[in-house]
Amino acid sequence: MNVLLVSPLIIPFITGIILILMWKNRPAQRAISIVGSAALFIVSIILLLTVWEEGIQAVQIGGWPAPYGITLVADLLSAIMIVLAGLMAISVAFYSLASMDSEREAFGYHPLFHILMMGICGSFLTGDLFNLYVWFEVMLISSFVLVALGGERAQLEGGIKYVTLNLISSAIFLAAVGLIYGLVGTLNMADLSVQLRESDQPGIVLTLAMLFLIAFGLKAAVFPLYFWLPASYHTPPVAVSAIFSGLLTKVGVYTLIRVFTLLFIIDPAYTHTILLVIAGFTMLSGVLGAAAQNEFRRILSFHIVSQIGYMVMGLALYTPLAIAGAVFYITHHIVVKTNLFLVSGVVHRLRGTYQLKKLGGIYQLYPLLGVLFLIPAFSLAGIPPLSGFWAKFVLIRAGLETNQYIIVVVALIVSLLTIFSMTKIWAEVFWKAEPEPDPAYPREDLSLGALAGYVLPIAALAAVTIVIGLFSEPFVRLAIDAAEQLLDPNQYIHAVRPELLEGIVQAQN
């Protein structure tokens, strides 16, 4: 366990270091990048299976007991997230080999990518609030660089907004960590769970909860804090957009789930109602934003926002089924959204633009690509029996079970609007007859065979989507088990250090 639990950190870290040391050797860098991502993926699966079999795993870094040292904890949610990170790492790393330009590769694209993965995995694994801040920063700085690397005008303009708003989020997060230490004198999340529940200052605890809601909500891109996302996600190379759109915002969602199931559970009627309102507005605002766009990647970017709303809705409903829905939604969304961005990259490669107006006729020429787009697109729109449908179904069922009719209505309307904007891309890019070629956008008619480096990861992810949709039982089971763990924080605390529970146990007796 010692080794297994830290390997999602060490593997991308060491990969990144080797890549830095082999800076000038492009072929070696590409090979190592693939090996590192593959290793991460394999380890992540082993970790998930172990956690599923043996329950929550924890390790004390440096051997210092909790709450004094830093704990790494893998419960099912963390393990699922790590597997998804691994899957994205290997797919996007592969895709990058074909799509990334050699200039960016020469300026550290590969090491940055792996350090980004390290930051993401660290955020999923850590059981310490300040350590979470550190991993956030590792992730952020890598993402900052990846957004801006290349220095195109759009990248810089979008990058400044991305950087500024995320720094604000970090500043709020850091302040909140300080305030929480000042209040209860500890940073270990398991310990905090106990201390915050027993705090004699519920008013301050709830205020801090709001600060965390803002800090993580901004990272997750919820309404009204999502502006940085549509401003920047469509600017960097598509491999970067893809990994950001799939994974990065979900780190925010993950932390929201973590703190609002483990730390701030003293008054769910208050906190989770606020979350529910936010969820509704996020869904609606995001999808309307998407409807107003006319560019492939921008539509997709706004959709991320909208779907974050569904995930937050699951958290806000706060029942086992609802949280399972959120977990399942995250799983599905990461795979599907990444894939859609990857498809947009192929279209861009062929036609040199993302503008719907300038595109068309792809389906006629590349029917297979059309199918590969339709699978994730319909899945995103929640068409059964693809993965997105089950995600939506579980959430709607959870909403109806708890009589939260308004949010269910919103979710359904948004779902229809999602279909609307997904079919918009389909109709404009794939169905429509090809418009007059514009010399500003050089087109290349390559065969899909020549684009195998692009198409293979897309096909693989599409296959994953189909598998999640058609053979959903293990995935649903996993999500339900994860939700049950999340709703019983004492399991988490017990895994970190049983002694921490003493106060609670006494209170209950």
Partner: protein, 118 residues
């Protein structure tokens, strides 16, 4: 003293917020710098203040005794300062590049990535 510093922290936050709300990208950088200082000082204050007595164990002693400053907030701030420096260095260069590329320091000229008409 904590009470006084609470107001200093508030002033730093106010100034930082005000600066990042300006249209000039250079002011944005300065504002972020102020916010960084503000957060650090805040954590320091919230960890309660102890005059003198750094948390260093005397050569003859085995444990810290007597009044001493809480070492944990210090360690956190140290990490935060360094991280803040790294991020800020990057942000500064980003702003410089943006200025060179767009040829203005006015944020209102940097909206192209948000406008859906594009």
């Amino acid at each position: 003293m904590e009470v006084i510093l609470a107001f200093v922290v508030g002033a730093l936050y106010t100034a930082g917020f005000y600066m990042i709300l300006r249209r000039s990208i250079v002011k944005l950088i300065l504002g972020l710098g102020l916010l960084g200082h503000a957060a650090n000082l805040m954590i320091f204050t919230i960890g309660r203040l102890t005059r003198g007595s750094p948390p260093i164990i005397g050569h003859e002693a085995e444990t810290l005794v007597g009044p001493f400053a809480d070492p944990l907030p210090q360690a956190l701030i140290l990490t935060a300062i360094v991280i803040g420096f790294g991020v800020q260095a990057f942000a500064i260069v980003l702003v410089k590049r943006a200025y060179e590329t767009v040829n203005t320091e006015d944020f209102d000229q940097m909206r192209s990535t948000d406008l859906h008409e594009a």
